[in-house]
């Protein structure tokens, strides 16, 4: 398992990963509460971006409604906890199951009936909107009034019930991010990963090579929605309150995809790097503005817009691919061949 994981990964990449991981492991010692919340946010977006990247970056299917899977995961785990006292780790499989079911329905409708490209994206937005409106009128989980987790001042960390200090949430999110990173690495180098990339590049050519494209696109949306749901569980237990208007808001979906777009769609490091850049910088900017006494609530979104614009114009493949070339982190891939 380990052997296969590190197989064909250059040694200095492993070193870099090790240093990065070590840095993240010791970060809470040096970080104050504010910096810790920023780091949690960065990891959260690295995680969700990675999960979204499976569907878009690997298999080429653009989802603009990934807030749906976060929201369903969040509500499922929170409702089980609030109503039945069932802890998040048992709630998580349920959350994943519900998320996967909705992803499978969307996938089936889209891929079975040839809804592709922009229309697929619109379909994903539509389903997220259905959920937003539906949950507004769903009394059992609080409707538009919101669902609240029982909160008390925790001096002890209760990992089993995810109740405790920010530092505990930080390590949970770090663990999730590492797991999903390793999983994506394995997927990308597996048969299904290559088939996804073939579908992304040219679906008809993929079919001509014997790839049952419907089945593999279904697999992509199932894996992606399953991966996204745990982020929702985390979200519910970290923020302690859920409102349909916020949880399923389209901006939540957009925030998820900013990291991978800026970092590099379809790459492993892109979502991670993108999350660091966009969340780190935007929080820094916010902090700076507050420090100098500017009250600018829209500054973050404006910053997102500027970042997106810059990347699309200057580095359409994201920041990671040129950086990787600079650091010679890729397997020797020669792109200097003659252009025709």
């Amino acid at each position: 398992m380990i052997g296969r994981m590190v197989h064909d990964v250059p040694r200095h990449v492993l070193w870099l990963l090790g240093v990065l991981l070590a840095g993240l492991l010791v970060a809470p010692i040096f970080a104050d509460d504010y910096l810790l919340t920023v780091l949690i946010l960065i990891l959260y977006f690295a995680y969700t971006g990675q999960a979204w990247n499976v569907l878009m970056g690997f298999a080429g299917q653009l989802s603009l409604g990934h807030a749906l899977y976060v929201g369903l995961g969040a509500y499922a785990a929170a409702a089980l906890y609030v109503h039945y006292g069932i802890g998040p780790w048992i709630g998580m499989p349920v959350a994943i199951l519900i998320s996967v079911a909705s992803g499978a329905i969307i996938g089936f409708l889209a891929f079975r009936f040839g809804v592709a490209g922009v229309y697929f994206a619109i379909l994903t937005i539509a389903f997220c909107e259905f959920a937003r409106i539906g949950f507004d009128h769903f009394g059992w989980i609080g409707g538009s009034g919101g669902l609240f987790m029982p909160v008390s001042n925790h001096t002890q960390n209760d990992l089993l019930n995810l109740r405790g200090q920010p530092v505990m949430f930080y390590y949970v999110m770090l663990a999730l991010t590492v797991i999903v990173f390793v999983l994506c690495h394995l997927l990308l180098r597996s048969r299904v990963g290559y088939f996804w990339q073939a579908i992304r590049e040219d679906e008809e050519a993929a079919r001509s090579l014997g790839i049952a494209t419907f089945r593999y696109k279904m697999a992509a949306i199932v894996v992606s929605s399953a991966m996204t749901a745990p982020a929702g569980v985390f979200y519910a237990f970290y923020y302690n309150n859920l409102f349909p208007e916020q949880t399923f808001f389209i901006l939540r979906s957009i925030e998820i995809i900013l990291g991978p777009i800026i970092g590099g769609i379809g790459t492993l490091f892109g979502p991670v790097l993108g999350a660091f850049v966009i969340t780190g910088l935007s929080e820094g900017l916010q902090e700076l503005l507050t420090l100098y006494g500017f009250d600018t609530p829209g500054a973050k979104r404006l910053f997102y817009g500027v970042c997106l614009l810059l990347v699309v114009m200057v580095l359409p493949n994201g920041i990671w691919p040129p950086l990787a070339r600079l650091l010679r982190l890729h397997r020797s891939r020669d792109t200097t061949g003659p252009q025709s």
């Binding site: 180098r189 290559y194 990339q197 590049e201 050519a205 079919r207 379809g266 025709s340």
Partner: protein
């Protein structure tokens, strides 16, 4: 010789236009079978009917004794028919090696085994040295050979080639002809090709079928077909004789 592919009375219309009308032929095992004809004769439609991209309106297609008409193209490929596209369709952002490896993954689910198979195919197609290049950065002749390599990697019994010589210079055409001949001779591969380049057809094909306005007007050995008055009138032109 037994027939590997049997096409019987196949027809396909597009809103009133009969693209392929009642065409029948059989491709013998281990043959090099060429389909020629003027533009719009229905060659590519015929090709797409066999490859599973289009469903025929009538008639049947039998491959290795089993009906394949109406199957999807991925199912047709799994039965053992590989194809190339007239306008090449490599996976541009992937390397040459990965392109071919994806084809090999069909029969060899383990990626490292698929990679080994891909390397074998790349050797045979003179592409091994370029295996790390991105497919999108290749020249046209290389991309044409990559198409053949990728299809070959699926280990087909029958290879469908849609104008692989088009746009190649004469020396490159000869190189491709040599490769295909070798695949046929050494690998026992049956090849069905659509071709405009008569130089390639004459040196390569063992059988020729001529389509005109969707109908088969002649079939047989290449030397006999090019002397057929009907073929000369409708396709080759009198100056070709």
């Amino acid at each position: 010789m037994t027939a590997l592919l049997e096409v019987s009375n196949i027809s396909k219309s597009f809103t009133g236009l009969r693209a392929v009308a009642d065409v029948s032929f059989s491709v013998p095992q281990r043959s090099l079978f060429a389909v020629i004809g003027p533009n719009g004769a229905g060659k590519t439609t015929l090709f797409n009917l066999i490859a599973g991209v289009l469903k025929p309106d009538g008639g049947s297609i039998t491959f290795g004794g089993a009906r394949i008409d109406g199957l999807r193209s991925d199912q047709v490929c799994r039965r053992g028919i590989g194809r190339t596209f007239q306008l090449v369709r490599p996976f541009p952002a992937l390397t040459v090696e990965e392109n071919v490896m994806i084809g090999a993954l069909l029969r060899h689910p383990d990626p490292s085994e698929a990679l080994r198979r891909a390397h074998d195919v790349l050797w045979r197609l003179d592409l091994f040295d370029k295996r790390m290049q991105l497919a999108g950065a290749l020249t046209l002749p290389d991309r044409k050979r990559l198409e053949v390599a990728r299809a070959l990697a699926t280990e087909p019994k029958l290879l469908l080639l849609d104008e692989v010589m088009a746009g190649l210079r004469p020396t490159e055409t000869d190189r491709m002809v040599e490769i295909l001949k070798k695949l046929n001779r050494d690998g026992g591969l049956t090849i069905l090709l659509i071709e405009h380049v008569m130089r390639a057809v004459m040196s390569l094909a063992t059988h020729v079928l001529v389509l005109h306005h969707g109908a088969a007007i002649a079939e047989g050995a290449p030397e006999a077909v090019v002397r057929d008055p009907e073929v000369i009138r409708s396709y080759l032109g009198t100056e070709a004789v």
